[in-house]
C-alpha cells in the first residue's frame, strides 16, 4: 500500500445505486484529479477497469510462466528419478519412456498454474489477507458487499483535499458520502505479533508432537510401523503349537515330487550299481561338482572326503570316510543311489541336488579320491618340496 503522508485521512467514498450510475460518475470524478480513484462493488462490473484506467491483469502471463515451469519440473523430476536415480524396468518399458511421464506432467502443470492463478491473485496481486484496510472499517462496506457501488477517491501523497473530494463525489451523484480516516490501530503485522505467533506455532508443534508420541506409546492400537514384522506367521525352525510334532517346519507330504526332480525308480542300492554317469568328465562338470560338493557335502564328509569327524564332537555323528577302499571301488550308480535315497544317518539329498549336480558331485568325488590315492605315475615330472608332508618322516628308504 502507498504510505500517505497525510496519515489522518485515507480517502472519501461515495455510494451509488446502480452500476450504470457508477459508470457514469467515474469519468467525472477522474477528471477532477484529486487522488487515486477506486471503485468498490459487490460483484465484478464489466468495463470498470477500462473506465478506471486500470491495467489488464498480468495473471495470465504469470500462470503461463508457472505452468511451463511446472511441466518442466515434473518432466525433469520424473526423468531423473525413473531414468537416472532409480532406474527400474517395468512392463518392458525403458526407464526414460517419456510417454508415461505425460499424465503427471499435465497434473503438475495444472497444479502450478492453478496455484499461481489462485494464490498469486490473492497474495501477490491483491495483497490479501489484509484485515486492516481502512475501507473495511468504514460504514460503507456493509452496503458495498451487499448491493451498492462505492467510488472512492484515495489520498495520494500530501495535500489531499477532503472537501474537494466530497464535492466531486456529490456532483457525480453519490449518496451517502463517507470520509474514511486511517484506522487508529496498527496493523497486525507488527514484530510483536509475529513473535507471538511464531512462539505459538512452536509451542503447538512441541505439544502436538509430544502428544502424538505418547498417544502412540500408550494406545498401541495402531503402532505405526508394525507392518510385516508383527503378523501371524510361522518362522522355520521355530516351535509351533499348530502341528502335532511341535515343529514349525514340516516335511513335505509323502510322495511329494519337487518341480524338476524325478523319483528314482530303483529298489535297492545294488540295483543302481550299473547306472552310468551320463556326464562327460570336463573342467566345467568337475567345477560344477566341486560347487555342489562344497555346498552340500563338505560339512560332513570334509573337504577331502575323508570324513574327518568334525561332527562327532558336536553331534556325535561319524560321516563315512569316502577315501576308504570300499568307496573308491563303489560304482557311480551306488553313490548316486546314496545321494538320492540317503544312507544310514545321511538323509536324502534329492531335493537339494539336481540330477545334473548329483552326477557332477560323483565326478568330483572321484577327483578327491584320486588326489588322496594317486597313481604312482601321477607324480612324474612334479617337483616335490623336500621334507614336506606328513608322511615324509616315515618314508621307506
Amino acid at each position: 500500500m502507498t504510505e500517505p503522508k497525510n496519515r489522518g485521512m485515507f480517502g472519501v467514498v461515495g455510494l451509488f445505486e446502480s452500476a450504470d450510475a457508477l459508470m457514469a460518475a467515474i469519468p467525472k470524478v477522474r477528471e477532477a484529479g484529486l487522488g487515486k480513484v477506486e471503485a468498490y462493488t459487490p460483484y465484478p462490473v464489466h468495463g470498470l477497469d477500462k473506465a478506471l484506467g486500470q491495467r489488464r491483469s498480468p495473471l495470465g502471463g504469470m500462470v503461463m510462466v508457472m505452468g511451463v515451469l511446472g511441466a518442466l519440473t515434473a518432466f525433469l523430476f520424473q526423468w531423473w528419478i525413473s531414468g537416472i536415480d532409480y532406474p527400474i524396468v517395468t512392463g518392458g518399458k525403458a526407464p526414460t519412456s517419456w510417454q508415461a511421464f505425460v499424465p503427471i506432467m499435465f497434473e503438475v502443470t495444472v497444479l502450478f498454474a492453478t496455484f499461481t492463478a489462485g494464490l498469486g491473485m490473492l497474495f501477490f496481486l491483491n495483497k490479501l489477507p489484509f484485515f486492516g484496510h481502512p475501507v473495511l472499517h468504514a460504514q460503507a462496506i456493509a452496503d458495498i458487499t451487499r448491493d451498492r457501488f462505492g467510488l472512492a477517491i484515495e489520498a495520494e501523497g500530501d495535500g489531499f483535499d477532503v472537501e474537494a473530494a466530497v464535492r466531486a463525489l456529490e456532483a457525480a451523484g453519490a449518496r451517502p458520502i463517507e470520509v474514511i480516516p486511517q484506522p487508529s490501530f496498527s496493523g497486525p503485522m507488527t514484530a510483536r505479533y509475529l513473535e507471538r505467533s511464531l512462539l505459538g506455532i512452536a509451542i503447538a508443534c512441541a505439544v502436538s508432537g509430544y502428544a502424538m508420541y505418547w498417544a502412540v506409546k500408550l494406545f498401541p492400537v495402531l503402532p505405526p510401523t508394525s507392518h510385516m514384522l508383527v503378523q501371524p506367521r510361522l518362522d522355520p525352525q521355530k516351535p509351533s503349537a499348530f502341528f502335532k510334532d511341535g515343529h514349525g517346519m514340516q516335511l513335505p507330504v509323502p510322495g511329494t515330487v519337487a518341480r524338476g526332480y524325478l523319483p528314482l525308480g530303483l529298489a535297492s542300492q545294488e540295483e543302481a550299481a550299473t547306472l552310468v554317469n551320463p556326464l562327460a568328465v570336463s573342467e566345467k562338470v568337475l567345477e560344477e561338482g566341486r560347487q555342489a560338493y562344497m555346498n552340500h557335502c563338505v560339512v560332513c564328509h570334509g573337504p577331502l572326503a575323508n570324513g574327518v569327524p568334525t561332527l562327532t564332537s558336536a553331534y556325535g555323528a561319524k560321516p563315512a570316510n569316502l577315501q576308504a577302499k570300499q568307496f573308491r571301488d563303489y560304482p557311480d550308480g551306488k553313490i548316486y543311489w546314496t545321494i538320492v535315497m540317503g544312507k544310514n544317518a545321511m538323509p536324502s539329498y534329492a531335493a537339494d541336488l539336481s540330477e545334473e549336480d548329483r552326477w557332477a558331485v560323483i565326478h568330483y568325488l572321484r577327483a578327491l579320491q584320486r588326489a588322496q590315492n594317486a597313481k604312482p605315475g601321477d607324480l612324474d615330472g612334479v617337483k616335490l618340496e623336500a621334507g614336506s608332508g606328513p608322511g615324509s618322516e616315515g618314508k621307506a628308504p
Binding site: 502471463g61 540295483e271 577315501q323 588322496q372 601321477d378
Partner: protein, 300 residues
C-alpha cells in the same frame, strides 16, 4: 511484449517465491540425503585409503591345494609289540575309538551311540558276547575292521594303519567284561606273519586340482553317435542327447547282443542318460528294432 503479461516486479516476486520453495525443497532434500546418516547409498562400500590389491587369485585357504606327496610304505610291524594289549596300545585304541566308533557304538561300546538309532542292523554291543558276525576274538575283530560287515553300516577301516587297528582291537576287547576265550594260535600266527612280512602302502597324494586335471585328461569320450537328423524315427524320438546316449551305451556291456540289458539300463536312467522317458513304454519287439537302429547310428 512480456511486460503486457508480467511486469518485471511481478516476475521477481514470482521467482523469489519459487526460490523460497526450491530452497525449502533443497533443505529437506539435504536433510534427507546427507544429514540423516546412511540415508543414501546404504549399500555403497565405505570409502577408505586406496589399497593396491595383489593381482591374481591368491590368499585363499584351500585345503584341497596341498603340495603333492610321494607315496611310501609304512614299515612292517613287530608282531610281538601288538599281539597283546599294553597300556600304550589301549590308550591309543581309546582315542581312535572315540574318533571313529562312538558315533554308532556309544561311549561305552553298548551300541547306543547317537547315530545308532537309524541303523539296521543295529551296531554291535561290545559288552555282550552275542551276535558278533566275525567273532569276538582278535582275528575276528581284525577281519571286521579290515573288510567291514556286508549289509550293515559297518564299513572297512583299512585306512587306519596296522598298529592303529590292533590298538582298536584290543580296546574293543577290553570293553567286553566277559571271557574272550583262548585265541586260535594258528590264526594269530597268520596275523603275526602278515604284520611282519608286509608294510602298509600309503599311496602318493596330489592336489585335487591336479587330480581333476588328470581325470579330465584320462577321460576317454565314447565314440559319438552319428547325426540324428538322418536316423530312423525311433531313434530320433528316443534319443534326447546323443552325447549322453553314447556314454550310456558305452557303460552297458553287451547291449548289442542283449536287448533286455539294454532296455533295463536305458529305462532306469532316463532321461538323464540321454534317452527320452518314453522308452519305458517300448515293447520287446520295439526294443529289438531300437537296438538295431542304434547300432546303425553307432560309429564303429
Amino acid at each position: 511484449m512480456m511486460d503486457a503479461y508480467v511486469t518485471t516486479e511481478e516476475l521477481r516476486h514470482l521467482l523469489s517465491a519459487l526460490l523460497v520453495v526450491v530452497i525449502f525443497i533443497c533443505l529437506v532434500a539435504l536433510f534427507a540425503f546427507l544429514i540423516i546418516p546412511g540415508t543414501r547409498n546404504a549399500n555403497a562400500p565405505i570409502a577408505g585409503p586406496a589399497v593396491n590389491p595383489p593381482q591374481g587369485q591368491t590368499g585363499w585357504l584351500d585345503v584341497t591345494e596341498y603340495p603333492p606327496e610321494e607315496g611310501y610304505t609304512v614299515p612292517p610291524v613287530d608282531p610281538k609289540t601288538v599281539m597283546t594289549p599294553t597300556p600304550v596300545l589301549l590308550a591309543r585304541g581309546k582315542v581312535l575309538f572315540e574318533q571313529n566308533c562312538v558315533a554308532c557304538h556309544g561311549p561305552e561300546g553298548h551300541g547306543d551311540g547317537p547315530a545308532a538309532k537309524g541303523l539296521n542292523p543295529p551296531p554291535r554291543n561290545f559288552s555282550q558276547p552275542t551276535g558278533w558276525v566275525n567273532g569276538y576274538q582278535i582275528e575276528g575283530i581284525w577281519k571286521t575292521l579290515q573288510e567291514g560287515v556286508k549289509g550293515s553300516a559297518m564299513v572297512e577301516y583299512d585306512y587306519l594303519s596296522t598298529r592303529d587297528r590292533m590298538a582298536l582291537v584290543h580296546y574293543v576287547q577290553s570293553l567286553g567284561d566277559f571271557s574272550h576265550g583262548p585265541e586260535d594260535p594258528a590264526k594269530l600266527a597268520a596275523l603275526a606273519k602278515l604284520f611282519a612280512s608286509a608294510g602298509q602302502v600309503v599311496p602318493p597324494k596330489i592336489p585335487v586340482s591336479m587330480a581333476m586335471a588328470k581325470l579330465e585328461e584320462e577321460y576317454v569320450a565314447p565314440r559319438p553317435l552319428a547325426s540324428l537328423a538322418e536316423a530312423p524315427p525311433l531313434v530320433r524320438w528316443s534319443v534326447l542327447s546323443p552325447a549322453r546316449a553314447a556314454r550310456t551305451l558305452a557303460g552297458i556291456p553287451h547291449w548289442r547282443t542283449d536287448e533286455r540289458a539294454l532296455a533295463k539300463e536305458v529305462v532306469r536312467g532316463a532321461p538323464a542318460n540321454g534317452f527320452a522317458p518314453a522308452v519305458a513304454t517300448y515293447s520287446p519287439g520295439q526294443w529289438k528294432e531300437f537296438r538295431d537302429q542304434l547300432e546303425g547310428i553307432c560309429i564303429p
